[in-house]
């Protein structure tokens, strides 16, 4: 049976000395339904998944490392369940100095004795030594998938979007244990092994993490996709620091270890690919004259927007309709509405480019570009002075920094969470029993905004319910909600930098109260264009002309 491990410091070679093979834990669950009964929801998805797999009986032998509080508790839970025949927690020091090496050697010896007792096998030093595989040199350009444990699923989504090879350099992927010197005698064997294991590029939970900069120093590293896991606290701060200092294109992504949210992940990685590999020509090959007509479709979660543009880059017609049913049906209806408006037949449209969540579901387009790149192009079209774009759509919110040509230089998106999005405001309007349009102006009548402290939409909803129950004036609650959205958005914008002219796009740009609150939170004025909601579709149309 294979021994399953969860950390690059796990002594894989030691198990080879017992004739066992090891494999890293790797899975991409649909959900954590099976773990819910045993594990508090605020543990990281990796930990929850190890628990549910182990408790289902799918893991025979499990070696955990004392990497973090979650792994420690996973050990307690799995051990108490009695579901694994062998479960062990290897105590990993936080340092790599001489004392720590001695101690770790002692811990490795203890594990070897425990495994010998469990398996009835003897440790074979020759097999152990033979297990050290020399690492082939990396002499090609690659994108590093860095940060915390990414499963094969995330790795595949990232690789699918990029033409360069992706190397998994996350805390379980980056395992590189230097072979031991042949001259080591048996007694010194485990000390040398401990030094070798601790000599790897450190993980973020160690006392000294400076050695992690080796990852950045590799000249073949062409871009970084930095992965963090929700409820893992070790890697996000490093991600933020590296982002600020990165010499190569950088993308930070967060997952919960499940397969959900893959659409958002795909959008982000594809936008990153566009940044990394240069804005490739996305439009179909054709000759463009002043009379050429093209269409851009922005297939969003709330609305489907269409812009028809001519060869002079003038908007001929546009349409905004709510997204209902399938993305492709909504796209067809929206396109038809714009065509009717302009009084032109479908066949006179030379090219269609789609963007937004539904972009690849729309069959009848010539190509697709992510909404991040399109929003940037569209905002630049509306106002060439724009250098920062704040976009709040129905499903997500994002901040984009652009250069003088409308090219994306950096972007940040909120993570799988309704807070700070149009959906959040919709939910709250429903809770308050007011129309969305009313929400836009109601806050202005507030004498004193209440503080809505919850950033989680679920908590915020119950907070709002209590405020209503306490007879708090509606305008004060709305003003408080606007502030809570603004606080989150401003933090996002500051991550990419707030510079020069700053434009707000997306459906929420129509909400005056939120716009004012964001300006206040950022300490910077926002430009809102009447056509702001069309920015994505405009960008797509521009790509059709490119």
């Amino acid at each position: 049976m294979t021994v399953i491990y969860t950390c690059k410091y796990a002594p894989v070679e030691l198990f080879a000395g017992f004739g066992e093979t090891c494999a890293p834990f790797d899975d991409a669950p649909e959900d954590f339904a099976a773990a819910d009964e045993f594990v508090h929801p605020n543990l990281c998805g990796f930990g929850k998944d190890v628990v549910q797999k182990a408790l289902s009986g799918a893991i025979d032998q499990l070696v955990l490392v004392n990497c973090c509080d979650t792994n420690r508790r996973v050990f307690d839970i799995v051990k108490a369940s009695g579901k694994c025949r062998f479960v062990y927690l290897l105590d990993l020091p936080h340092c790599a100095d001489a004392c720590a090496i001695d101690r770790f050697a002692f811990e490795l010896g203890k594990l070897a004795r425990a495994y010998a007792a469990f398996s009835g096998k003897a440790f074979n030093a020759t097999a152990f030594r033979a297990a050290f595989a020399p690492q082939p040199p990396v002499d090609y350009d690659y994108v590093g998938l860095v940060g915390v444990r990414a499963n094969h699923y995330t790795e595949q989504v990232v690789q699918a979007a990029l033409s360069l090879p992706v190397r998994n350099l996350t805390c379980t992927g980056l395992r590189s244990v230097a072979p031991l010197d042949d001259a080591e005698d048996e007694d010194a064997l485990f000390s040398a092994y401990a030094a070798s294991l601790l000599g790897q590029i450190p993980c973020a939970r160690m006392e000294r993490t400076g050695g992690r900069r080796q990852i950045l120093a590799d000249p073949h590293l062409t871009g970084i996709v930095y992965h963090t896991l929700r409820f893992c606290d070790y890697y996000a701060p490093e991600g933020a620091r590296w982002h600020a200092a990165a010499q190569v294109p950088f993308l930070q992504i967060e997952s919960d270890y499940t397969k959900s949210g893959s659409e958002q992940l795909r959008t982000r990685v594809e936008a990153f690919a566009e940044e990394l590999e240069g804005a490739q020509k996305k439009g179909p090959a054709m000759t463009i004259t002043e009379d050429t007509l093209v269409a851009g479709i922005d297939s969003g979660s709330t609305s489907t927007d269409v812009v028809i543009m001519n060869g002079k880059r003038e908007i001929v017609a546009s349409a905004i309709i709510p997204t209902r049913g399938s993305a492709s049906a909504s796209a067809e209806r929206s396109l038809q509405e714009a065509l009717d408006q302009a009084g032109i037949p479908r066949k006179s449209i030379a090219a269609v480019v789609a963007t937004g969540y539904g972009r690849d579901a729309i069959g009848s387009t010539d190509s697709s570009v992510t909404e991040i790149t399109c929003h940037a192009k569209g905002a630049h079209y509306l106002n060439p002075q724009v250098r920062t774009i704040v976009d709040i759509g129905g499903q997500d919110s994002k901040a984009i920094a652009v250069d003088e040509h409308g090219n994306v230089t950096s972007f940040a998106m909120n993570d799988k969470c309704a807070a700070g999005t149009g959906r959040f405001l919709e939910m709250m309007a429903r809770t308050l029993g007011v129309e969305l349009a009313e929400m836009s102006t109601l806050g202005a009548k507030s004498g004193h905004a209440v503080s809505i402290s919850s950033t989680c939409s679920v908590f915020a909803e119950s907070e709002v319910v209590s405020l209503v129950a306490n007879d708090m004036p509606l305008p004060d609650i709305v003003a408080g909600l606007n502030r809570s959205v603004a606080r989150r958005t401003a933090a996002l914008a500051k991550r990419v930098g707030v510079n020069d002219t700053c434009m707000m796009t997306g459906g929420v740009a129509k909400n005056e109260g939120v716009v004012r609150a964001i300006e206040e939170a950022m300490g910077h004025a926002l430009v809102v264009d009447d056509r702001a909601q069309l920015a994505g579709a405009i960008g797509a149309a521009l790509f059709a002309l490119a």
Binding site: E37, F38, V39, H40, N42, L43, C44, G47, N66, C68, D69, T70, R72, R73, V74, F75, D76, I77, K79, A80, L89, D91, P93, H94, C95, C99, A100, R103, F106, R205, M206, E207, R208, T209, T228, R230, F231, C232, D233, Y234, A236, P237, E238, G239, A240, R241, H243, H448, S453, S454, T455, F459, S462, E463, S466, R487, A491, K494, R495
Partner: protein
């Protein structure tokens, strides 16, 4: 808006442009608060608790006003090596709790988030990190920290070391409860006096440490007496005082302050009125700012905290003044907050038996993975032993992460359950 939140806003907004000025305002506020606590202490509290409120305020002011004689520490750092040498523990958790008490924590939480610290990190650590980013916290002379009780330490202190640019001393505590681990930590602790001497000018001697441990023995006996009286007496208490007790018996353990607190407590409990309210064993940090908990468990002889595991943990292992390094190492290794959950459960059950507790509240502080991860195991084991256990989700520091209505409903329903159980037992 009340005075405290106005003051918090003033400090928070000032910090954006003038962190030094913000610190001065903060310290002026704390000085005023200390004066108020000295001149007009809460008359409902016994002397011991009135006094520790003043002493804690003094400690915080001292750390922030005289950082040149302070060392930043975590809650499980053996501060005996510091206060015996005249170095003030600049406690991250206590300072965060005070910043939250001043209602300016949201400013620092925002700053921490902008610096990339995830909102899922423990809010005591996040508040500290944000305040550090903002520049309001003065640079201590050094840092002495350990990996227990939680990962928050390994996120916070290496970062603080870099940001403050001061020498740091790290005590790595092995996970396993064993004498090997004790020997390893004791070896590390033997290097600590030299570090303190080099950085702060005065090194604690072995005699200083031994004398300190003698005080701790007296303190443990007095606090033990206080615990033993719980089944029949109630000494007026509130959540904030319980938090201050943690300062006395953890952050300042072995000091005069700590000893006199326990001595007064022991004398006062003897004179306290007889009571037979619902006795709770509280596990984990004390959320002294969550209104529903404060109103349910403060100054209430019908339901109160009889013992808090994080406080008693500091006094749970044997004290041998002749062997200071081993004693202090053993306290760290055999802390209920280190190693497997079994010890934490066992210690909580000891407290239940000792105080004749009616039930246990397991406070699942947002972001504390070591506590959250053990919640299910602890609840099951405690209930199997015959004590009802409430896993109460909340956040002791960041108001954002708690739904007050839910906390109130759950805690009060639990108290009703305990009440009904008593009635049944008596019938």
């Amino acid at each position: 808006m009340n005075v405290v939140s106005l003051f918090g806003r003033l400090v928070g907004e000032q910090a954006a442009t003038n962190p030094e000025g913000a610190r001065k305002i903060l310290l002026a506020g704390y000085a005023a608060q200390q004066a108020k606590l000295s001149v007009a202490p809460n008359p409902r509290l016994p002397k011991s608790r009135q006094r520790i409120a003043v002493d804690t305020m003094k400690l915080v002011r001292n750390a922030l006003d005289h950082p040149e004689t302070a060392a930043a520490t975590s809650l499980f750092t053996p501060t005996e090596f510091l206060h015996t040498a005249g170095v003030t523990p600049y406690s991250v958790e206590v300072i965060s709790a005070f910043l939250a008490g001043t209602q300016c924590e949201q400013y620092w939480l925002r700053d921490a988030e902008q610096a990339g610290f995830p909102e899922t990190l423990c809010s005591y650590h996040r508040t500290f990190l944000g305040a550090l980013e903002s520049g309001i916290l003065p640079q201590p002379k050094s840092i002495v920290y350990t990996n227990i009780a939680c990962d928050g330490n390994m996120v916070t202190f290496p970062h603080a070391e870099e940001a403050f640019n001061v020498p740091a001393f790290f005590i790595d505590v092995p996970w396993e409860h064993s004498e090997d681990s004790v020997a390893f930590v004791a070896d590390r602790l033997r290097q600590l006096p030299e570090f303190v001497g080099d950085v702060h000018g005065t090194a604690p001697t072995d005699d200083d440490l031994s004398r300190c441990l003698v005080r701790e023995q007296r303190c443990a006996a007095d606090y033990g007496h206080y615990l033993d009286m719980q089944p029949t007496r109630y000494l007026a208490n509130d959540m904030t005082s319980e938090m201050y007790a943690m300062v006395a018996l953890r952050v300042m353990l072995g000091s005069e302050l700590s000893e006199s607190f326990a001595r007064r407590l022991a004398a006062e409990i003897d004179a306290a009125p007889e009571a037979d309210g619902l006795r709770l064993v509280w596990m984990h940090v004390i959320p002294n700012m969550l209104p529903p908990i404060v109103s349910a468990l403060s100054f209430n002889d019908r339901a109160y905290i009889a013992a808090t595991d994080i406080i008693v943990d500091g006094l749970a292992t044997p004290i041998d003044p002749a062997k200071p390094y081993e004693t202090l190492a053993r306290r760290m290794v055999y802390s209920a907050y280190n190693g497997s959950t079994d010890l934490r459960i066992e210690r909580a059950l000891d407290l239940c038996r000792r105080t004749h507790a009616d039930g246990v509240v397991y406070f699942a502080h947002w972001g504390c993975k070591m506590t959250l991860g053990a919640a299910h195991l602890a609840k099951t084991a405690i209930e199997d032993a015959g004590y009802p256990c409430l896993v109460l989700d909340g956040d002791g520091c960041d108001r954002v992460n708690t739904s007050e209505g839910q906390v109130a409903t759950r805690l009060n329903a639990f108290l009703e359950l305990l009440e009904a159980r008593r009635a049944e037992q008596e019938a």
